[in-house]
Amino acid sequence: MSEPRQSVSLTVNEERHDVTVPNRKHLADILREDLGFTGVHVGCEHGVCGACTVRIDGAITRSCLVFGVQADGAEIETIEYLSAQSETRDLVDTFVAENALQCGFCTPGMVISAAALLAETPDPTREEVRAYLSGNYCRCTGYQAIVDAVMMTAAGRRAAKGERA
């Protein structure tokens, strides 16, 4: 008995990929194993830790909770791409400068979630940052440097726009 498979077409980081994958394979594993986007991390495979967070059609999503076949036709963005985009580069630079990561395993998901937060709420409070990122577990940092990095990025963007710092 061989595994049921289907072909799916995914646009990942602006490149189109056609792959044939087992029906039961989740998107995180396809991105990692079939397409080589190892910046997608898998920490729990049950939707709790947030390490597998990617953007699907613009919305942040846990890729361990999506089967590859469900994502057929979707546009997906991973950290490899998002970290190089001008709209997120300041956030990435601030994560590095503030040491908002240690082992780095949570970081791709954390950065993608933080970018979404700043897109929704350009002027968040520390509590709002903590609440928004509470679906992304970090076992190393204690979170404070992450909150600092998000707040500093927000302040930097406002300053660049000539708003109050």
Binding site: V40, C103, G104
Partner: protein, 798 residues
């Protein structure tokens, strides 16, 4: 050569090269490595806590799609050497034989029974479901109180008892009455079973090349050399034919410090199939089979005089270690640290402690960051607070009356720990100032009037860092307390730096690059650090007991000094100067006036290509290795103090963390930002221990916490900002004066929260004695207090 002082970039908060890689999705964690024709392993694991294996039927599984091999004990017996986790210093300690797969008996839920190797993980799991293990269930030993009962089943019959080992320490007689006491208070605390829960689970990829007979194991691990040495013994290979690579590791915290059965099995499967074999634990396997940590029942007695002097302290630690001691280090360290570090910072004439390690039909308990220290700190500081409350003293007052006096060092504790110097008074002063204790207490009092119940807790701790060779070496355990560093200056004047210490995010690599750059007058970017590969780095300890900078940094410092002397020797000859008058600064060789004489890269180039310019007997080695090992003392003891401010909802039992402060003595800070982030991260792990985290089993030894929704680790919204301050005092050994910092955060956090919650509950006469402090724990304590009449403070007096 001129005497060098510490200079930049030492002391600067340089950013980490790895951090940039990680933040752009370019980490190279074990499972990120591709492998051609690679295979995947899945394990059949015991569904019950204790039973006799009657038969394992693998026929159906072997015929399945994609399956390349199915291995049971019978298939691998004789191809490896089983192991025992003992310590030659303690011949009475029971060290039952451990196998890669059990020959006849399973001893915990999750224990591997058989291994399936297939072309994908999913197919391997399909086949694992078709392996039929016939196990005759036996009564499990899953309770710490009954494990030592005469009628308890024996987990290891050949050991004759479920007691692994019992030790006592101190200078008094365990169990004897205290003399010189106006009041003796007794209490017992229960500490939950934790697990380090790194976000990256245990992962490995083994490849065997039969041509050169070299086995390469990529593995998410802290101690590649230790694993190389152990696997060589177990698999019968030369250590030079085993390469262990731990490049990027997604969190470890002590959990990835030992040998696991899967490590051996994956290597055996790679050798058998001639193909790469990969295993990545899923989260359920992680909870069931990763080493767990803590779980203690500690009873203590504290004797005090009415003037607030503590005259006696006794503790009795019951520590259930699971089915076997972890290998190779054994599970003793955790208990040993409780035995030795409890009350270590107090001047107590009569101190005694007893430790008993018990076997249980549960997963192994091993090391987790800050081994033993949080337990030692919490029991000590809980008892000190109870004494203070009984005597009507403020928590800081009783501590000041009993801390070891600043002019009494160097000294030894009653348990034989050498203390070079502790800065406890300075740390307490700083803490009280940072938290503005007076303002906090008046806020607390005001809110109490409004029915809001807040508490302030202080916890002081002594910690052992940078451990040397005195424990494992004579114990017959090949764990290196020594660390080394190789520096290779390239002809361009850039440096490749290969330390034996490893970096799982602490920033050790960056700290070492700063040290090397400081000595050589280079920029951090001129140094490339390559760590975590047993084939290229000197043999050393890796990451354990906060040694990255305190020991590894010292080795790097010495190697860099040697390289510096070499460069100055050649430069002096070329420019007709006395090398002792020269210095390396900003990429140049400079004279005493600071005038630039030549560049470092020019000197390096000459050392490789222009021997015609140099005398025949002039050395030109630009590759240097130096090692460092603490010799004068087994540990580098240091200290710190923490405070927590909490609010307890007495209706729901829910505890909210409002503020947290740390003052720590880390000696010289090579990179202050990285030090502070180490401490904060540790604090949050300690806050998880205090309020959330617990691995639970039922009375039959069945695992109840199997997902990250059951085992709660702190989220961003659970924890407050943490203020960190430093006190700096010197070290007995070493040029840098750096002490370990990795464990300090965990060491004091849970004790501070426990004391804060009990401070909050004080007006109700309630005391919590259990961690994690769940809402149920709080409500139970409140109900118990309400049910009993208020008790006079001197009720326990003898």
């Amino acid at each position: 050569m001129s005497k060098q002082i510490l200079r930049a970039p030492i002391g600067q908060s340089a950013p980490r090269e790895r951090a940039r890689r990680f933040a752009t999705g370019r980490g190279r964690y074990t499972d990120d490595a591709a492998s051609l024709r690679g295979l995947h392993a899945a394990f059949v694991r015991s569904p019950i806590a204790r039973g006799d294996i009657l038969e394992i039927d693998c026929d159906a599984a072997r015929d399945m799609d994609g399956v390349v091999a199915v291995l049971t004990h019978a298939d691998i017996a004789g191809r490896y050497r089983p192991w025992r986790a003992g310590n030659a210093l303690l011949p009475e300690m029971k060290a039952p034989e451990q196998h890669a797969l059990p020959p006849s008996r399973v001893n915990y839920v999750g224990e591997p029974l058989a291994m399936v190797v297939a072309t994908s993980r999913a197919l391997a799991e399909d086949a694992a479901e078709q392996v039929f293990a016939d196990i005759d269930p036996l009564d499990a030993v899953a309770d710490i109180e009954t494990a030592l009962a005469p009628d308890s089943p024996l987990i290891h019959e050949d050991c004759g008892s479920n007691l692994c080992v019992s030790l006592t320490s101190g200078n008094g007689k365990f169990g004897a009455d205290f003399e010189d006491a106006d009041l003796v208070i007794e209490d017992t605390l229960d500490f939950g079973r934790h697990t380090a829960c790194p976000l990256e689970t245990r992962s490995m990829l083994a490849e065997y090349d039969p041509g050169s007979e070299v086995l390469t194991l990529r593995i998410s691990h802290q101690c590649p050399h230790q694993l190389q040495a152990e696997l060589a013994k177990i698999l019968g290979l030369g250590q030079h034919r085993l390469r262990v690579i731990s490049e990027d590791v997604g969190g470890a915290y002590g959990l990835k410090q030992q040998l696991y059965q899967e490590d051996v099995l994956v290597c055996l499967a790679a050798m058998q199939t001639g193909r790469p074999v990969r295993f990545v634990a899923d989260r359920l396997e992680a909870f069931a089979s990763d080493n767990h940590a803590r779980e203690h029942r500690v009873s203590a007695r504290i004797a005090v005089r009415k003037d607030g002097r503590i005259t006696g302290f006794e503790l009795d630690d019951l520590f259930p270690i699971g089915a076997y001691p972890q290998y190779p280090r054994t599970s003793l360290g955790e208990g040993n640290h409780v035995l030795r570090m409890s009350a270590a910072g107090y001047d107590i004439a009569d101190f005694r402690s007893r430790l008993r390690l018990l076997f249980q039909n549960k997963a192994l308990i091993g090391h987790y960051r800050s081994v033993g220290h949080p337990v030692a700190c919490a029991i000590t500081e809980h008892m000190v607070d109870r004494a203070a409350a009984a005597l009507g003293l403020a928590p800081e007052t009783i501590r000041l009356r009993n801390f070891l006096s600043d002019d009494s060092y160097p000294r030894e504790t009653p348990t034989g720990v050498h203390l070079h110097y502790l800065s406890q008074h300075a740390c307490l002063d700083r803490l009280l100032a940072d938290m503005d204790i007076a303002a906090l207490r008046s806020e607390q009092a005001k809110l109490r009037g409004q029915g809001i119940c807040r508490g302030i807790g202080i916890a002081s701790f002594v910690e052992l860092t940078g451990t040397g060779n005195g424990f494992y070496g004579p114990g017959g355990i090949d764990v290196s307390g020594q660390d080394g560093c190789t520096l290779k200056m390239e002809p361009s004047g850039h440096v490749r730096c290969m330390p034996s210490v490893t970096d799982q995010g602490q920033g050790t690599d960056t700290g070492i690059a700063q040290i090397v750059a400081s000595v050589l007058g280079l920029e951090v970017a001129d140094i490339r650090v390559l760590s975590g590969d047993s084939e290229i780095t000197p043999h050393g300890g890796g990451a354990w007991a906060s040694r990255g900078i305190s020991t590894g940094g010292e080795a790097a410092w010495q190697a860099a000094q040697t390289l510096r002397e070499q460069l100055l020797l050649v430069a002096g000859h070329l420019h007709q100067r006395d090398p002792a008058t020269l210095e390396l600064t900003e990429g140049h060789v400079v004279d005493a006036s600071g005038a630039q004489i030549t560049t470092i890269s020019e000197v390096a180039h000459i050392c490789y290509f222009r021997h015609d310019l140099l005398p025949d007997d002039m050395p030109t080695e630009l590759m240097v290795t130096r090692h460092a090992v603490p010799r004068a003392q087994l540990f580098q003891a240091t200290n710190g103090i923490q405070a927590a401010y909490v609010e307890v909802d007495t209706d729901t039992g829910f505890t909210r963390l409002l503020g947290h402060w740390v003052v720590h003595d880390g000696g010289t800070l090579i990179n202050p930002k990285l030090v502070e982030e180490q401490i904060r991260g540790g604090v949050v792990q300690g806050l998880g221990a205090a309020l959330l985290e617990e691995i639970r089993y039922d009375e039959d030894g069945q695992l109840l916490t199997a997902t990250m929704a059951d085992y709660l680790v702190p989220m961003a919204s659970d924890v407050p900002d943490i203020q960190v301050s430093h006190v700096t005092s010197g070290t007995a050994e070493g040029a840098l004066g750096a002490k370990g910092v990795g464990e300090a955060g965990v060491a004091g956090a849970s004790g501070a929260v426990l004391n804060a919650v009990n401070d909050a509950l004080g007006p109700f006469g309630a005391t919590v004695r259990q961690m994690p402090i769940s809402p149920r724990t709080v409500l139970t304590a409140l109900r118990a207090a309400a049910a009993s009449a208020t008790t006079p403070p001197f009720e326990d007096a003898p």
